[in-house]
Amino acid sequence: MKVVLKYKRLFKKILKRIGTFLVAMFLLSVISFGLARLAPGDPLQSFYGDQLDTMTDEEKEMARERLGLGDNVVVQYVKWINNAAKGNFGISFKYKMPVTKVVNPLIGNSLLLGITAYVVIFLLATVLAVFCVLHEEHFIDRLICKIGTILYYTPGFWLGVVLVLIFSINLGLFPSSGAYDVGKANDIANRISHMILPLTVMIASHLWYYAYMIRNKLLDEVRKDYVLLAKVKGCSKREIVWKHCLRNVAPTIVSIMAISIPHVTGGTVVVESVFNYPGIGGLAVESAKYHDYNLLIVIVLITGAAVFAAGLIAQSINEEIDPRMKERSAIKW
C-alpha cells in the first residue's frame, strides 16, 4: 500500500513537471510567434529577394497563400502549431528549405560546444572557489578575484576577436573559424583545435561569475561550527573544505548550475557568431539579420525547451540531494 502511494505521488509530481514544461513552451511559442509576426518588413522580400519586383500582384497573393501569410495572426498561429505538432515548422525564407533540415545538422555542433563549456566552467569554478577559500584574504586570492572580475566584464565578442588576432592571425596556432576543416568532419584532433578558442572565450566570460558565487557560499560555510569541530579533530584544511563544506554547498551549486543555463546558452550565441562556428546560435543571429522568422522561432523554441527541461531536471536533482528543497516550501498558487 505504501509503495503504491509513493509511486502515485511520484507520478503526480512528474505529471506536474510536464505540465509546467508544456505551459512554458506554449507561452514561449505565443510570445515568439506574436513578436515575429508583429515585426515590420515583408517576409516575401526575404524569400524572393530581387525577384519580388518582377512579380505581379496575383503571384504575390499566391505566394503569400502558399507560405501561410494570408490569414490574420491567430489563424496563422493555430495553423502553424498544427503543422508543428506534425513536425513541420514551415520553410526557412532564406535557405528555401524546411526549417528542420536547416537546423538538424547544426544542433550537434552547438550541443558539443555548449555542454563542453558548461562542464568545464563548473569544474573550474568549483576548483577555483575552493582554492580561493583555502587562501582567503591572501595575495593570491585577491589577485584571482581581480583577474576574474576583469575577464568577466570584458565583452565576449571582443575577447574572441582579440584571441583570433593573436592566436590565429599572428601566431597561426589555431584556426579562426568553423568547426572543422573541409573533409575532416570525423577528425577529432581537428575538431578540438577548432574548439579551443571558442571554448576559451566561453570559459573566460562565464567562469568568474559562478566561481565568485560558489566562493561566497563557501566562505559562509567555513564559518560554521562543524568546521571548528573538524579542525579540533585534526582534519586538514583541505580535507574540511573538500569533504565537508563542499558537500554542504552542493545543492547551491546545482541550483546555480540550473539558473546558469540560459546565461551559458546566450554565450554560445555570441561565441558561435564571432568564430563562424556552425551552430544554431550563429544561425539565430543570421536569421534575425535576414528577417527569417520561421527559422528564428524554431531556434528560440529549441533553446527554450532545452533550458526549461534542464531547469526542471536540476530542481529534481536538488530535491533528491537536499530534502529541504522539497516543493512544500515553494510558493503556493
Binding site: 514561449l28 566584464y153 579562426s176 528560440v300 503556493k332
Partner: protein, 304 residues
C-alpha cells in the same frame, strides 16, 4: 566647591609622557581615510572618459564624418593618434563621439530597466498572493529564456536603429533581476504601519510607492542599477558588432568594432584593440563603482 578659574587641562594633565602635537597630521589622514575603500581611481578615470565624450568636438583633431581615403588603415602615429580604420576614419576623433552614444545607451537603458523593474516589482510585491505568484512566474519564464534570443526577436521589430530604439531593446530585456529584488524588499515592508496608514488616509499606489516604498529599497537596488549601465553598454556593443545594432554611420564603440572582421583580414590591431580597451575600461570603472554601492557583508573570522 570647584574654583571657577580652575584650569581643567592642568587638572587632567598626564605627567611623564611627551605631548605629541597631532593636529596637522589628523587633517591629512582624514582625507585619506575618508577616501579609503572608495573607488577613487575608477571615479577619476570614468570622469575623464565622460568629460572627453562631452567635449568630443574640442578634442577631435580630425573631422569625425570625413573618410580619409588616402590614409586607409594607417597605424597609430603623429597625424592619426589612434590610427585609421578600413574606411579611413580617424579613430581618435570618432572614439569620443562613439563614447557619447555608448554611454547614452547605457544610461537610457539603465533608466528603462529601473523604471520597469521598480514598477513591476512594486505591483507584484503589494498585490495579493495569487497575482503576485502569477507575476513572478511570468517573469521567471521570461527570465529563463536566454536574453540574447529575446533581443534577436526584438531587433527584428525595430527596423530603424538609433540610440532610442537600441536603449529600449536592451532595456526591456534585462529588468527581471531588478524586479525580483524590488519585489522581495517590498514584501518585507508592505505590512508596516506607515504603509497601512498611508493607504487608509487615501494615498494611491504611486504615492505610496514614491513616498514609502522607493526610499526603503533604493539602497539595495543602487548596485543593480549602476551595473545595468554597464550591462546595457555591453549588450549594445555586442549587437552592433554582430550587425544587428547601430549601423556604421551612427558612431558607437560597438559599431566601431563591427569593422573588426575587416581589421582581422588586414591585420590592423589598433582598429580592434583601441575601441575595445575604451569599452572595457569604462565597464570596469562602472562595475567598480557599482560594487562599492553593494551592501557589504561583514564576515566574522574564518573557522578554518
Amino acid at each position: 566647591m570647584v574654583a571657577k578659574n580652575y584650569d581643567f587641562d592642568e587638572r587632567f594633565k598626564i605627567v611623564g609622557i611627551k605631548e605629541i602635537k597631532k593636529e596637522e597630521k589628523t587633517r591629512k589622514e582624514g582625507i585619506r581615510q575618508r577616501l579609503e575603500g572608495k573607488p577613487v581611481i575608477s571615479a577619476i578615470v570614468l570622469t575623464f572618459i565622460v568629460l572627453a565624450c562631452i567635449f568630443a568636438p574640442v578634442i577631435a583633431n580630425h573631422d569625425p564624418s570625413e573618410y580619409y581615403l588616402d590614409a586607409l588603415n594607417t597605424p597609430p602615429g603623429r597625424e592619426y593618434i589612434f590610427g585609421t580604420d578600413s574606411l579611413g576614419r580617424d579613430l581618435f576623433s570618432i572614439m569620443f563621439y562613439g563614447g557619447r552614444t555608448s554611454l547614452m545607451i547605457g544610461v537610457l537603458g539603465a533608466a528603462i530597466v529601473t523604471v520597469i523593474g521598480t514598477i513591476y516589482g512594486c505591483i507584484s510585491g503589494t498585490s495579493g498572493d495569487k497575482v503576485d505568484s502569477l507575476m513572478m512566474r511570468a517573469m521567471e519564464l521570461c527570465g529563463s529564456i536566454p536574453s540574447i534570443l529575446l533581443i534577436l526577436i526584438l531587433t527584428a521589430i525595430f527596423p530603424a536603429k538609433n540610440v532610442f530604439s537600441m536603449s529600449i531593446i536592451v532595456g526591456i530585456t534585462s529588468w527581471f533581476a531588478l524586479a525580483r529584488i524590488v519585489r522581495s524588499e517590498v514584501r518585507q515592508i508592505r505590512n508596516s504601519e506607515y504603509v497601512l496608514y498611508a493607504r487608509c488616509v487615501g494615498g494611491n499606489f504611486f504615492y505610496v510607492m514614491k513616498r514609502h516604498l522607493i526610499p526603503n529599497f533604493i539602497s539595495s537596488i543602487m548596485f543593480v542599477v549602476v551595473s545595468s549601465v554597464g550591462a546595457c553598454i555591453t549588450t549594445e556593443s555586442t549587437l552592433s558588432f554582430l550587425g544587428l545594432g547601430l549601423p556604421l554611420d551612427i558612431l558607437s564603440w560597438g559599431s566601431m568594432l563591427s569593422l573588426a572582421n575587416k581589421a582581422l583580414i588586414m591585420n590592423t590591431w589598433w582598429v580592434i584593440v583601441i575601441p575595445g580597451l575604451f569599452l572595457v575600461i569604462t565597464l570596469l570603472c562602472i562595475t567598480d563603482i557599482g560594487n562599492y554601492l553593494r551592501k557589504e557583508v561583514n564576515r566574522r573570522p574564518s573557522n578554518l
